[in-house]
Amino acid sequence: MIQNILEEKLKPKAYSSDIPSRWCPGCGDFGVTNALARAFSTNQLDQERTVIVSGIGCSSRLPLWMGPYGFHTLHGRALPVAAGMKIAHPELDILVTMGDGDCFSIGGNHYPPVMRRNMDLTAIVMDNHTYGLTKNQCSPTSQVGYPGTLSPVGNVDEPMNVLGLAVANGATFVAQSFSGKPKHVMQMIEAGMKHRGFSFINVLSPCVTFNKLETFEYWKGRMEEVPEDHDTSDKIAAWKLSEQGMQGDALPMGILYQATRPTYEDQVAMVKEKMGSVPADQVDMEAIFDSIKPGAK
C-alpha cells in the first residue's frame, strides 16, 4: 500500500493539481506542462518544497494545474515575487513560468536584475509570439507583419532577441526549446533546475488559436539543435547563435550559454555572516536598544 503510494508519486500525473486545465485544445502550453511534470517525476521532486510562480496570461495559468505550491501573481510580476520568496527562503526550489508578453513586455524591468544578480531561479517562458489571453496583440517577440489586433497594418517592430538579451543581462544558463519536442523541453528544464544560478529557458509554444503562422509544423521545420562544437561558456558565441536564430530559419534548440558565478543567495548569506547573523528568533533586541541609549557609541 505504502509502496503503491510511493510508486504513484513517481508518475508525472502525481504532479498535477485537481484543478482541470483550461487551455484551448492543442495549445502548445500542454507540452510544457507535461514536460515539467515529467521532469519533476524523473527527479522525484518534493512538491511540498517547490513553488511555481507565474504572472498573468494563458501560459501563466500553469501553476494552477500543477501539484507543487503555486502563486499566480500579476501580469509581469512573477520574477520579483519569486525573488523575494527565494531571498527569504533559499531552501525552496522555485520555478517561474511566464508568457512572452508577461516576461518581456510588462515584466521587462524584472528579468534583467534577477539575471544580473544570478538568483537561483528557473525561469521558463512559453513564447508563442503573441498575447494569447487578451486575444492576439503583438508581443515583443512577434514577427514583423504579425496581425496583432492593435496593429492595423501588421506589426511594425523588429522582434526582440530574447536569448541574446538573457546572455547580455547576465543569466548563467540560457537555453531554448520547443513544446513540439516535449522530451527536449524536459531535458532543458532538468538541466535548468540542476543549474545553480539563474536559468532562462525560452520554449517556443504555439498558440493554436491566434498565431496561424507559427504553428507546430512551422516551427518544427525550423528548429536546429545547438551544434555539438558550440562552446557554451563563450558569451560571444552564444550571442551569435541567438542572432542567427533571429533570421528565422535556424532557431537554436539547446543550451546556448552556461556559466558559474556566485548566486544572489550566496551574497545574502555572506552579508548576514558579516553582520553576525543569529537565527531569526534568537535576536537580542535589548542589545540593539543598548546601542541607541543616550551616550552609547
Binding site: 493539481s17 485537481d18 484543478i19 512538491q47 511540498e48 518544497r49 517547490t50 513553488v51 511555481i52 510562480v53 498573468i56 501553476p63 494552477l64 500543477m66 501539484g67 507543487p68 505550491y69 503555486g70 502563486f71 499566480h72 501573481t73 500579476l74 510580476r77 520579483p80 515575487v81 519569486a82 525573488a83 523575494g84 520568496m85 527565494k86 531571498i87 527569504a88 527562503h89 531552501e91 525552496l92 524591468n109 524584472h110 534583467p112 536584475p113 545574502v268 552579508v271 548576514k272 553582520m275 553576525g276 547573523s277 543569529v278 537565527p279 531569526a280 528568533d281 534568537q282 535576536v283 533586541m285 535589548e286 540593539i288 536598544f289 541607541i292 541609549k293 543616550p294 551616550g295 557609541k297
Partner: protein, 573 residues
C-alpha cells in the same frame, strides 16, 4: 527649575545646520533631558534654506511647540526668514556683526558671533563654523558642554583625533568670544546634567524599523525614495543580524512584489515608500488583499501631489491609502503621531496584517520621519505579537482549502514546505480550494468572507480620548497633528477650557463607534489636518454622517499648538 527651551538653528543646507541640531539633541539626552527635534530642508542635496530645531525639557515633550526661544542664524537668509518671529523675550544668535546687518528687535537679546570669520580666519577651517556657533551657545546658556564634547568625540574619533581636536578648538573659540564680549545670557539657563533616564534615542523612521524587528519582520523589499529610505536603511542595519534581509529592488513594484513573495512563503515582511511609490505598488497591494497574504506597507508621506515636495510635511495620502487599488479591496490604515507611536503602530500594523491576512498601511510623514525623541525603552515582555493562523494537516487525504469559508472569514494558511498544504494562490476570483471561479455564488461568498474578516477591526486598536465628559469643542486629529493637539490640549485644559480630544490610531476602516461616542460628548467637532481636501474629515463623514468643522493647512509645515488653540477659541470653547 524646570526647563522647556527650544533652540532653532537655521542656515544654508550643507553648512552643518542639521548636524548641529543632532549634537545638541544627543548631548541633551545624555544629560538627562527630554528631547524632541524638528528638521526641514529642501529636496536638493546642497544649498537652500535648512532648519533644525531641538526642544529640551524636564517633562515629556508633546510637540515641537509654537516656535523657538533661541534662534541661531548661520546666514542672512536664515535671519530674514526668522526675523518676524523675534518677539520680545526671544534670543537671536547670528553670524555678525560683519556678515550681515540686523534690524532693531525690541526685547530681543541679540548676540553677534562672527562664526564665519572665526572659522575662516582664526581656525582656517570654514567647515567648523557650526561648531563655533555651538561653542557660543553652550557658553551663553550654560548648555552642558561636556556632553556635547563627548558626542563630538564619539562621532569624529572614527575619522581622526585631529578632527576631534579641530572641533573642540572651534567650540572653545565660540565660547571664548562669548566670554570676551557678552558673558552668560540672563534669560535662558540650562540646569545641571542629571542622571540619564532609561530611554533610547530614536528617529521616526528608525522606530519603524525597530518596531518591525520587534514584531518579527525579517524581510523588507523597497526602492529608495525620500522620506522613506531611512526606514529601509535602519532595517538594513538590523534585519541581517537576525537572518533577515533588506532588498533594494529595481523599482517600487518589485520592492512590494518581493515582499509579497517573502510573506507568501512564511516570512513576516514589509515594504516602505512614499506617495509616488504607493501609486506604483497599489496593484500588488490589491493582490495581497485578494490572495490573502499579510503585508505591511509603510507610507512616509511627503508634500503632494505628484513629485510635489519630497522633504516637506503633509498628510495627504490618506484618501489613497483608504481607497486606492481598483475593486473592493479590504485593507486597514494606521497612522503614527510621534516616535514612540512609530514603534508601536508598526507592531500594530503587523498584528493586523497577520491576523487578517491582508495589507495594512502605516502612515508617517516627512517631518516625523526625521523627528528624534528620547523615548522610554520598550518593554518587550509587554508587547503582544500576533502571528497568522497556520494550517496543520491532519494527515488525511482531503485537499487543503486555502480559502476555507469560516465564521470569522479567516482561513488557516499554509507555507511552502508544509506537508499537505499545497495550493496555488491567485488574484483571480476563486473558490475555497483556490481554483479560479466566477460563478455568482463564488463572487458573493468570497467577497463576503474577505470583508467579514475586518467587520470588528475597530475593536483591535484602542482609540484614546482626553478631556471632560462634556465639551464645547472636541478635536479629532491624526498623525503628527495629534502632537500639536496634545500640547494645545494641555494648555487649554490648564486654562480650564471645555475641550476634548480624540486620538485615533486606526484611521480606516474609520473607528465609527469611537467617533460617534466622542461626537456625543462634544457640541462641536474640529478636525485639523495638513491637507487640502479634508481627507479624514470626509472619510469620517462618509462612515458616520458626522461633519466636523475643518481646519486645513497645506503649506509644507506641520501644525503648531497655538493655531489649534486659536481655532478652538474662535469656536467658543
Amino acid at each position: 527649575m524646570a526647563i522647556d527651551i527650544t533652540i532653532r538653528i537655521a542656515g544654508e543646507g550643507g553648512e552643518g545646520v542639521i548636524s548641529s541640531g543632532d549634537f545638541l539633541m544627543q548631548s541633551a539626552a545624555s544629560a538627562g533631558f527630554e528631547v524632541m527635534t524638528f528638521k526641514s530642508f529642501p529636496a536638493e542635496i546642497k544649498g537652500g534654506y535648512a532648519l533644525s530645531q531641538v526642544r529640551f525639557s524636564d517633562d515629556k515633550i508633546l510637540s515641537q511647540g509654537d516656535g523657538f526661544d533661541i534662534v541661531v542664524c548661520f546666514n542672512e537668509e536664515a535671519y530674514q526668514i526668522n526675523k518676524r518671529l523675534l518677539t520680545p523675550g526671544k534670543v537671536l544668535v547670528y553670524d555678525g556683526p560683519d556678515e550681515f546687518e540686523i534690524e532693531a528687535h525690541e526685547g530681543v537679546a541679540c548676540y553677534a558671533i562672527p562664526m564665519s570669520h572665526i572659522a575662516k580666519q582664526e581656525l582656517k577651517a570654514y567647515i567648523s563654523k557650526n561648531m563655533v556657533a555651538m561653542g557660543a551657545v553652550c557658553e551663553l546658556f550654560g548648555f552642558p558642554v561636556d556632553s556635547l564634547r563627548r558626542s563630538i568625540h564619539d562621532k569624529f574619533i572614527k575619522k581622526s583625533q585631529a578632527i576631534v581636536d579641530q572641533n573642540y578648538a572651534a567650540l572653545e573659540a565660540g565660547a571664548a568670544h562669548v566670554r570676551d564680549h557678552y558673558g552668560k545670557d540672563p534669560t535662558y539657563t540650562f540646569p545641571e546634567a542629571r542622571e540619564a533616564k532609561d530611554v533610547i534615542i530614536v528617529e521616526g523612521n528608525q522606530a519603524i524599523a525597530l518596531g518591525a524587528m520587534a514584531a518579527g519582520c525579517r524581510y523588507l523589499g523597497a526602492y529608495p525614495i525620500t522620506p522613506a529610505t531611512s526606514v529601509a536603511i535602519a532595517a538594513s542595519k538590523i534585519f541581517p543580524k537576525a537572518d533577515g534581509y533588506v532588498y533594494q529592488a529595481e523599482d517600487e513594484i518589485a520592492g512590494v512584489a518581493s515582499t509579497v513573495g517573502a510573506s507568501f512563503a512564511g516570512t513576516k515582511a514589509m515594504t516602505c515608500t512614499s506617495g509616488p511609490g504607493i501609486d506604483l505598488k497599489s496593484e500588488m497591494i490589491g493582490l495581497a488583499a485578494m490572495a490573502e497574504i499579510p503585508l505591511v506597507v509603510a507610507d512616509i508621506q511627503r508634500g503632494g501631489p505628484s513629485t510635489g515636495m519630497p522633504t516637506k510635511h503633509e498628510q495627504s495620502d490618506l484618501f489613497m491609502c483608504a481607497h486606492a487599488v481598483h475593486g473592493d479591496t479590504p485593507r486597514a490604515v494606521l497612522a503614527a503621531s510621534n516616535v514612540e507611536d512609530c514603534f508601536y503602530r508598526t507592531i500594530d500594523a503587523f498584528n493586523l496584517a497577520e491576523k487578517y491576512q491582508m495589507p495594512v498601511f502605516l502612515l508617517s510623514d516627512a517631518a516625523l520621519s526625521l523627528q528624534v525623541e528620547a523615548i522610554p525603552r520598550p518593554d518587550l515582555s509587554k508587547i503582544e505579537i500576533i502571528d497568522r493562523l497556520r494550517y496543520q494537516s491532519n494527515g488525511s487525504e482531503e485537499r487543503y482549502q486555502r480559502y476555507q469559508l469560516t465564521d470569522s472569514g479567516i482561513s488557516p494558511m499554509s507555507h511552502p514546505g508544509d506537508p499537505g498544504g499545497t495550493y496555488c494562490a491567485t488574484g483571480l476570483q476563486h473558490q475555497e480550494n483556490s481554483a479560479p471561479r466566477t460563478s455568482v455564488e463564488a463572487c458573493i461568498t468570497m467577497d463576503d468572507k474577505r470583508w467579514r474578516k475586518i467587520k470588528n477591526i475597530e475593536d483591535d486598536i484602542e482609540c484614546t480620548s482626553q478631556g471632560p465628559e462634556k465639551a464645547k469643542v472636541g478635536i479629532i486629529s491624526w498623525g503628527l497633528t495629534q502632537n500639536a493637539v496634545r500640547e494645545a490640549m494641555a494648555r487649554m485644559l490648564a486654562e480650564g477650557m471645555e475641550v476634548a480630544a480624540l486620538y485615533p490610531k486606526l484611521l480606516y476602516p474609520v473607528p465609527t463607534k469611537a467617533v460617534e461616542a466622542f461626537a456625543a460628548r462634544c457640541d462641536k467637532l474640529l478636525l485639523p489636518e495638513a491637507n487640502y481636501q479634508g481627507q479624514f474629515a470626509q472619510l469620517i463623514r462618509a462612515a458616520t454622517g458626522i461633519d466636523c468643522i475643518r481646519q486645513n493647512i497645506y503649506r509644507g509645515e506641520p501644525f503648531i499648538p497655538a493655531e489649534i488653540v486659536a481655532r478652538v477659541k474662535e469656536l467658543g470653547a
